[in-house]
Symmetry: C2
Subunit: 237 residues, 2 copies
DNA sequence: CCTTGTCGGATTGTTGAACAACTGGCTACC
DNA sequence: GGTAGCCAGTTGTTCAACAATCCGACAAGG
């Protein structure tokens, strides 16, 4: 049917298609949004601070129009709020927001665990190892007392839990939720050791998952989230 | 404490605060996005069609920059796709997308039903009545053979199911998912009677919910979604 | 026949300037 | 003390321009 050369070419295009995203193919507005998002997630932009179009545009070296496109993206991700004719501000979470964030996470994460029972064994093993890797990263960061990295690794743990469902959309939603949750962490600045006690709990959940105890793992995670939520809400007051 | 006049004024501001949104307080870009979103949801803009900045801007009477802001929003909602230096197109769903949409819906909807057992009775009754209302609307539209309205009511049913969780974020996610799903319906144009058989199933689920049989309702919905997914995927081929 | 090089029109990406609309604070006035 | 009006600064939106890129057409070459 196909000559050898033709098959080779097909292989090329398959391989190349994966790297298409690497060839910049990204607008200035998106790169600006990426930068701002990282600044917010890292806590370098405190909740409540206003981002004036003029100064932010000059600082980043982009025009006002481009900056506004980037703002739209981040507003849509709830990291910024837009008040008409007043400007954009880094979002300040209310207690209600924290409650709802945990409610939504509970929905997604426990659901993903329940869905894990239908995942074929080899794929499941791969996803479980991603969970383990996140826990290990958290442990390593903890011994070095890099609490910000512990937080990052902990977020990755929860994203890996969500990834059990194997749904790109669920993954993206979860990523957005965790980014939003960072706003809460940074709002309550005194939480340097907030994440530490959860590392051990994470291990326990991972162990249950490894044993195929999906129901028990879901219940444990549910309880876990309730505790974390309460603790964060307490820190709010 | 407060003088009568002061209390009157407080009443005013409370009442007025509800109407604040009516006083435009919304940017042109958002209104443009709303319009385009409705056009896509209604199927007046077919998947795959390109939206050129020049002609769309002239048609809607807005500048190119404003239009681009609106495009960003809809791209973020996955209703449009943006190809660098090529333009924006109404999204064309692949079979994978349909699968993932149903996967995510299953996560959210069955999770919401499970969460319903913790909702206080009076609030629960209110939310269940919203579900009933959606079903009734679908039945009414069915007898008049307005199949597009049946689809809309059916979407509202599933949003009402999700609303059992009482999470604004989950509600918004679900709203986005249903909008995205419309793309699939319109891509397979031959589905005029696609929604009809589900009305009865919806009734059955609502009955189970009313009886407090949350586990059974979740299982029924899960099965329901599996069937619907298969049927839609078949229509894709 | 198929591939490759080249060209020109059309569209998008991005910028800067301009003006209208609005906000927030200041002042003067009662 | 409160209120109306004014004013500087910011945002909302448009417009025009230019650079970068895409796409189809057409020609050249194997």
């Amino acid at each position: 049917m196909a000559s050898p050369t033709a098959r080779d070419q097909a292989d090329w295009s398959d391989l190349l298609a994966g790297d298409r995203a690497l060839l910049d193919r990204t607008s200035t507005a998106e790169r600006v949004a990426d930068a701002l998002r990282q600044w917010i997630i890292d806590g370098r932009l405190r909740p409540g601070t206003q981002l004036s179009e003029h100064s932010a545009g000059k600082a980043l070296g982009v025009s006002r129009n481009t900056l506004r496109e980037a703002f739209r993206l981040l507003v849509h991700e709830r990291l910024l709020v837009h008040e008409f004719h007043r400007g954009v501000f880094v979002r300040v979470l209310a207690a209600d927001d924290v409650t709802d964030l945990y409610r939504t996470r509970r929905l997604l994460e426990t659901g993903a665990i329940r869905a894990a029972s239908d995942v074929p064994p080899d794929v499941l093993a791969e996803r479980l190892s991603a969970i383990d890797a996140a826990i290990t990263a958290a442990e390593d960061a903890a011994v070095e007392e890099h609490w910000l990295d512990v937080g990052t690794a902990n977020m990755r743990f929860h994203q890996a839990i969500t990834a059990l469902a194997g749904s790109p959309r669920a993954d993206e939603i979860m990523q957005q939720l965790t980014a939003e949750l960072r706003l809460a962490f940074h709002a309550t600045s005194a939480l340097r050791r907030f994440h530490e006690p959860y590392i051990e709990l994470n291990r326990g959940i991972a162990r249950l998952l490894g044993d195929g105890e999906f129901g028990a793992a879901a219940r444990a995670l549910d309880e876990y989230l309730t505790t974390a939520q309460r603790q964060l809400l307490d820190a709010f007051a």
